[in-house]
Symmetry: C2
Subunit: 367 residues, 2 copies
């Protein structure tokens, strides 16, 4: 049996997985709908009370003039960059080399919009003002992802953000926020979403990461921008007759989980601390700045899998459902804290991490 | 008060609307979900049992190698045409001047794919072989919409379809079916979906017209085609983490309503007959070939609105919720037969049409 498959199976059988909100099953939608009157009218191609009220709610929360609900962030962000490129008449943007648009979208930005991206910073750290200053080319838009997911959810200092924003404003460069995990970083920055969004011309947020909805995104900005985004939404095939299954669940879980972002953040720091106490284990970042971090362990994948499966069976605690092979002697995985963590008995967690530390030492030949 | 608004209000207050399946409210989704176990896992970016089983079900039904679920037909069809254009290395297609891509998609095909459409036939009739033969330019793909919705849902003869298909095959032109209402025309053609789809290289079908689901579409063809369509689906931002709200409802209502397409067709013919007996009223087509038709009435919009509101109040029967102004002295509207028609007392329908005929005559000064 394939290693990752048996790891996933063992993880799925644990009573106490440490990551996520829960299983991604259709009960998530049923719960949101149980709360909603069946007589409520569907949205219709972007119109109707249901979609408008939610768009207004999020626009207000983000401190933007208006907002548009999209089926996906992929669609919303390509469109945001396209609008800013068209406005300036220059099809060039800049973003981090591990930006979602660069590595997860099959080059939609290039294939559908013929927009050329300039890659800023190296893959180990977030974009800084210095990277922007040292660009040799003019661009229409700079995209910043907060936190930078693919490197464990790292953030620049807030003052760095302010400096980048001021520079872009001065140079006539639009600043776009990939806020897929914006809600999750507010406790670290100790800022409101509106305070952060004020630094950006346009903002995308997601409703199925920390919020735990089904799918869907919001793109927010000034009225002219969001109006144009609706035209592109139709062109992309995203102006569905009904988006309400996503909107209703986004609204429901936003209400439920937004107040818990501080809790997830504290729990992420606690859990990262436990990982970092283990031999041959480090987290990225060393101290999380959101509900997420990456774990890097210096052991070959097969050996670590065997250790983890043993721990899951012995403690009923699930640490991760998968491992990514970084090299022949190291692997990594992502941790996202959600509702589950708070329900896990602390004594079980302590035991699991004692076992992890001991087994890694044994396997590394330290015992 | 705006005329159309009060007509809509009066229509919404009738006990017996003649068109559609019912209100587009969220109960439609609740009903589909009530039938489904909450423990069922979500689809994940196009993978998982839930999406695969439905795709297989529809691929088999359409007689195609494979099928891909899309959030919208707009997305699915642009992608189909793009794939065929790329394959031939020629960004030219042909379709009817009232094709959905030409009039309802904000020129997505041109703006996102740089594909140039050649418009065939005039706006009063469907595309015929003769139109294809008389094209002066080579194209990669011909799109046929069956039935042609914007002209009341008209169809070419089946033999015409066969001839077009044979010609395209001979000339190396891919034939794509806009089957937004494919299920609805099977009773007229007396063919299976697979028999019709055999004439086409690729097929799109929709699940919220006659089927009455929430949203969503299937694109079907051979394996190489559908595989490539998934890459473009991601580029368009349509590869959502979860599409299950649409898939579950598509599956549920497909099972429920596919067997009723013959009934809707018969009822459409009956209702069109009643319209055609009225003074100054004609339907397009004169005899429906699906569950739909258009009604054209030679009266100014304001006058017809007053008549309709009066009929709705007097009989509790609702004929249409809106009127489109064709000229200063004529208007039209679309009729789609769904579940509702069968539940309306015949005597009420007869009375409503007697009133319509009388009032039109009175207003036209014939009494």
């Amino acid at each position: 049996m394939n290693g990752n498959h048996s790891l996933l199976e063992a993880f799925n059988q644990t009573t106490y997985p440490l990551v996520g909100h829960g299983k991604r099953n259709i009960q998530i939608l049923k719960d949101a709908l149980d709360d909603t009157d069946g007589n409520l009218d569907s949205d219709m191609y972007g119109a109707g009370k249901l979609i408008k009220e939610f768009q207004n709610r999020i626009a207000q929360y983000l401190g933007k003039e208006s907002a548009v609900f999209f089926p996906s962030g992929t669609m919303a962000q390509q469109i945001a960059l396209r609008i800013w490129c068209d406005k300036k008449g220059l099809k060039k943007v800049a973003y981090h080399p591990l930006c979602h648009l660069e590595i997860h979208e099959e080059d939609g930005l290039k294939e559908l919009h013929q927009i050329e991206p300039i890659l800023l910073a190296d893959t180990s750290r977030p974009v800084q003002l210095e990277d922007v200053l040292s660009m040799n080319e003019d661009i229409s838009c700079l995209l910043l992802e907060l936190p930078q997911r693919e490197i464990g959810g790292q953030l620049p200092d807030y003052s760095e953000l302010e400096a980048i924003s001021a520079y872009c404003l001065e140079k006539g460069i639009k600043l776009h926020l990939d806020g897929a995990r914006l809600f999750e970083i507010l406790p670290y920055y100790q800022k409101s979403a509106a305070e952060i969004c004020k630094l950006f011309d346009s903002v995308y947020v997601s409703f199925y990461k920390g919020i735990g909805g089904i799918a869907g995104a919001i793109l927010a900005g000034d009225d002219a921008f969001t109006k144009e985004s609706k035209v592109w939404k139709r062109r992309h095939g995203g102006d569905l007759i009904s988006l309400y299954p996503y909107i209703i669940s986004a609204d429901y879980y936003f209400t439920q989980r937004l107040p818990k972002m501080g809790q997830y953040y504290e729990e992420a720091k606690e859990l990262a601390g436990l990982y970092n106490q283990c031999h041959a284990v480090v987290t990225k970042p060393p101290e999380p700045v959101s509900n997420m971090f990456h774990v890097h362990i210096d052991l070959p994948k097969e050996k670590l899998e065997a250790i983890l499966i043993h721990i899951y069976e012995a403690t009923a605690i699930g640490l991760t459902s998968y491992l990514r092979e970084s090299s022949e002697t190291a692997c990594s995985f992502e941790v996202n804290i959600g509702d589950r963590y708070a329900h896990v008995p602390k004594v079980g967690i302590i035991k699991a991490f004692q076992m992890l530390d001991e087994r890694i030492k044994e396997t590394s030949g330290l015992h």
